[in-house]
């Protein structure tokens, strides 16, 4: 196996295992940290796909900013564990109401995924053609062809910032 294939399987395994652990951990802080590990693995995959700008932006934005926000909120709320002692021992399918429905849906999705993955077909072999990996090309396209979504996104972030501050503010009247 070439070194690229080894790297792909390594990063892929880390991403999948970390994501599985994220959804199965009781302690939310461990979930956040495992998700950061998953993002790191994804960043490695982007480097393999010859997209260094996306790889670095993933670390800066997702792992370095969004996850810090999650971590702050979890620490601020001192997020309790989600269920009482009794419920923790029940399997997902036996719990009442929406949890059972969700578990059935998730099982259906997993079955469908397994079926889709075992079918033959799909491309094999290396990627055709060259990659566009220079930041210059991305920047050029971003500011000419995609200039309108870029500006709209900046307004979106402004709105989100104002909204987050207003929603999380403590009521001044006490």
């Amino acid at each position: 196996m070439g070194s690229e294939a080894i790297a792909f399987y390594l990063f892929g395994a880390v991403a999948v295992i970390a994501s599985l652990l994220v959804i199965s951990q009781r302690n939310p802080i461990y979930s956040v940290l495992l998700l950061i590990a998953s993002f790191g693995a994804l960043s490695g995959l982007y480097v393999l796909l010859e997209a260094p700008f996306v790889a670095v932006t993933q670390i800066i934005v997702y792992a370095g900013a969004i996850m810090v926000l999650f971590l702050f909120v979890v620490m601020l709320l001192n997020a309790p564990h989600e269920e009482t002692e009794r419920d923790e021992r029940l399997h997902a399918f036996k719990k009442p109401g929406p949890v059972r429905f969700g578990a059935v849906l998730a099982a259906a999705l997993a079955t469908e995924l397994a079926w889709a993955l075992t079918r033959a077909g799909g491309e094999t072999g290396a990627f055709p053609g060259a990659a566009v990996s220079s930041v210059r090309a991305i920047g050029k396209a971003l500011f000419t062809e995609y200039a309108f979504p870029f500006e709209v996104t900046s307004i979106l972030i402004l709105v989100a910032m104002v909204g987050a501050v207003v929603l999380a503010k403590r009521d001044a009247r006490g």
């Binding site: 070439g2 294939a5 792909f8 892929g12 999948v16 994501s19 994220v22 959804i23 951990q25 939310p28 956040v32 995959l45 982007y46 393999l48 796909l49 997209a51 996306v54 932006t57 993933q58 934005v61 997702y62 900013a65 926000l69 999650f70 909120v73 979890v74 601020l76 709320l77 997020a79 309790p80 989600e82 109401g97 929406p98 949890v99 969700g102 578990a103 998730a106 999705l109 997993a110 995924l113 889709a116 491309e123 094999t124 072999g125 990627f127 055709p128 053609g129 060259a130 566009v132 090309a137 991305i138 979106l156 972030i157 709105v159 989100a160 909204g163 987050a164 929603l167 999380a168 403590r170």
Partner: protein, 100 residues
């Protein structure tokens, strides 16, 4: 040499894990984390397709997805903080006042 199919399979697996997390978990913050997993899975398939087609479009769309995900995480967490202050719980089943 990993091919486009390999990356798409990985993206599908990650997306399924994220969806399972949203459907099964009973903690709002973990649900939001699972949504982030789904968004990342989609980012991976965008970049893989962009690479296969030889354009920069895949990476540009990922740029926008990341930005929107950041905005959504910020507002979502602000809402969670507001909810927690009201009911002292992070279990979505406690917020049932609109249920008929």
């Amino acid at each position: 040499m990993p091919s486009l199919s390999d990356y798409l399979v990985l993206s599908a697996i990650l997306f399924a894990i994220g969806t399972a997390g949203v459907l099964i978990r009973r903690n709002i913050i973990t649900i939001l984390l699972s949504v982030e997993i789904m968004l990342n899975a989609v980012n991976l398939s965008f970049v893989a397709f962009g690479r296969a087609l030889g354009t920069a479009d895949g990476q540009i769309i990922v740029f926008f997805v990341m930005t929107v995900a950041a905005a959504e995480a910020a507002v979502g967490l602000a809402i969670v903080i507001g909810l927690f202050r009201h009911r002292e719980s992070l279990n979505p089943s406690t917020f049932t006042s609109l249920k008929w």
